[in-house]
């Protein structure tokens, strides 16, 4: 949701001609009551709130925004005492192609480990036939067919992901193994793995029940539930701190399992965390309404100080352990904690110039390796940017 193209598609979808709905809320309630009565014995008092409610094709959607739009966010002016790696020395970056061991018009690098050595991505037609590719020092290997949709790779080259059926997996030392789905839940979503092989994800069950889960790459059939029911995990740092949500609140758990809520930025009803590296986490808050949708605004937390700040970008693709933010906005941008930024260069042979030609999906902990893809002539090609100071 970051490029002009994306915004244009969103705007078109919001304004595309759609026939008037013929949905009857009154009928839904009548049918629903009948179903409820069938489900549990006992009558339900008749109510009259429905008076005047018929077919609801003409209901007004846009209620006036109840809260004024937030002031333009600014980057934190101080780097929060972080040892920023930027010493004023210039950083030079070069983009290079990642080899494609198999064919397919959608070949994308999705994630990189903290050291920048391992990169994972998908190659396929984009239609449920993608294979996971692991690049080690630039050399490509295709994971076994059972590995689908990689989520992350750690500094040891362990890859984790979730297949199309909601089964988690870990690929370690050439071996693919399933992660246990906790009893009472029917699916898991695996998000992250740290250098110790701790794997974080969320199990989900009937009726929107969910619970944060921790596995170990050593013993994939064992698991530990984190927090109370209703928790969710989306990231894990190298020291084992798990981040995610508890109800509407952004949350963190210590490696021992003690949970605390993280700050929700002032004036926002809730916030969610996407990922964490080092002492940083990034996520989003619901921003102003645009048309019928809500624009999500990116947010960054410092897990050490607890400070939270809104970020003045349309979105972020991730954060490095040193606090460098990856903004995948059209031409990918890296923003250091002190607010200085650098654009990543393109490839000379890529002729396409529109926003969205380059996407950046992952960044290493020193901010010097970024992975992503180039979209040109209906084909995505995987790309890595390597930088040095």
């Amino acid at each position: 949701m970051t490029t002009l193209d994306d915004q244009r598609i969103a705007a078109l979808l919001r304004s595309a001609p759609v026939p008037a709905p013929r949905v009857d809320v009154g009928r839904a309630i009548r049918d629903g009551r009948r179903r409820r009565q069938r489900r549990r014995v006992g009558g339900i008092a008749a109510v009259t709130v429905l008076a005047g409610l018929g077919a609801v094709g003409a209901v007004q959607l846009d209620r006036p925004a109840s809260r004024p739009a937030p002031a333009p966010p600014v980057l934190a002016a101080s780097p929060d005492g972080t040892a920023s790696a930027t010493q004023g020395s210039p950083v030079t970056c070069a983009a290079s192609w990642l080899p494609r061991p198999i064919g397919g018009p959608v070949a994308v690098a999705n994630s990189v480990d903290p050291t920048g050595r391992y990169i994972v991505g998908d190659i396929g037609s984009g239609q449920e036939d993608g294979r996971v590719v692991l690049w080690t020092d630039g050399r490509a290997a295709v994971l076994p067919t059972g590995a689908r949709h990689a989520a992350a790779v750690n500094a040891g080259g362990d890859v984790v992901g979730t297949d199309g059926d909601g089964t988690g997996w870990v690929y370690r030392d050439g071996r693919l193994r399933s992660l246990a789905t906790p009893p009472g839940y029917h699916a898991v979503l695996v998000h992250a793995v740290n250098g110790r092989g701790d794997i974080a994800g969320t199990a989900s069950g009937a009726g929107d029940s969910h619970h944060a889960v921790l596995w170990s790459a050593d013993r994939p059939q064992e698991y530990r539930l984190i927090g109370r029911p209703g928790s969710a995990a989306t990231g894990i740092t190298e020291d084992g701190t798990v981040v995610g949500a508890m109800g509407q609140l952004p949350y963190r758990w210590t490696p021992q399992g003690t949970g605390t809520a993280l700050t929700v930025p002032d004036g926002y009803p809730r916030a969610s965390i996407d990922s964490a590296r080092g002492e940083w986490a990034v996520g989003s808050v619901p921003g102003p309404k645009e048309g019928g949708a809500v624009r999500m605004l990116p947010v960054r937390w410092n897990l050490t100080t607890g400070a939270v700040s809104l970020l003045p970008f349309p979105g972020t693709s991730g954060i490095a352990g040193n606090g460098d933010l990856l903004v995948g906005d059209g031409a990918p941008l890296i923003v250091a904690p002190d607010g200085t930024s650098r654009r990543l260069p393109g490839r000379p042979e890529v002729r396409a110039t529109e926003a969205g030609t380059y996407t950046a999906n992952g960044i290493s902990d020193d901010g010097l390796t970024v992975v992503g893809a180039v979209y040109e002539k209906q084909v995505y090609r995987p790309l890595v940017w390597r930088c040095h100071r």
């Binding site: 759609v18 009928r27 209620r63 998908d122 449920e128 949500a245």
Partner: protein
Amino acid sequence: MVDAEREFVEYVSARLPTLHRTAFLMCGDAHLADDVVQQTITALYVNWRRVSRADNVDAYVHRMLVHKLVDEKRLSWAKVRLLGSMPEPERPPVTPHDELAERDSLVAALADLPRGQRTVLVLRFLCDLSLADTAAAMGCSEGNVKSQTARALAAVRQVLDVTEMSGRNTR
């Protein structure tokens, strides 16, 4: 009880146009969209007291909608699409005119996409769901969502660019 029911009516009334738009753009069929939204809000009513306490009611409802669509599709997707393309006097198609040409192309492009790709486009761009929420709504992984989005965008961009070249040069 009365309060819960009022809340339900308020919620559904406010969301109905968006839900219907979402369903229509996902399946490309007005009747199916009506059916699916009707089923979704009926199920929502049955479970309202529990759902209304959920962290993110919208995300939950999106998930219900996607599941209902998938169920319908399992029953008779091809048949429904055939029927949906028949002319219908009560519901005249929106007349395309110049400003609308691009929107119509997008709807046409959506119709040609495989279901998964259409679903990710609508959830991510119309409903503005995050990667994680889209994956949760579809019951698949984020990587899957990413690759489907990439593929769908490729197809849609192609259509939009063609429209621009043959139509206006103003953008």
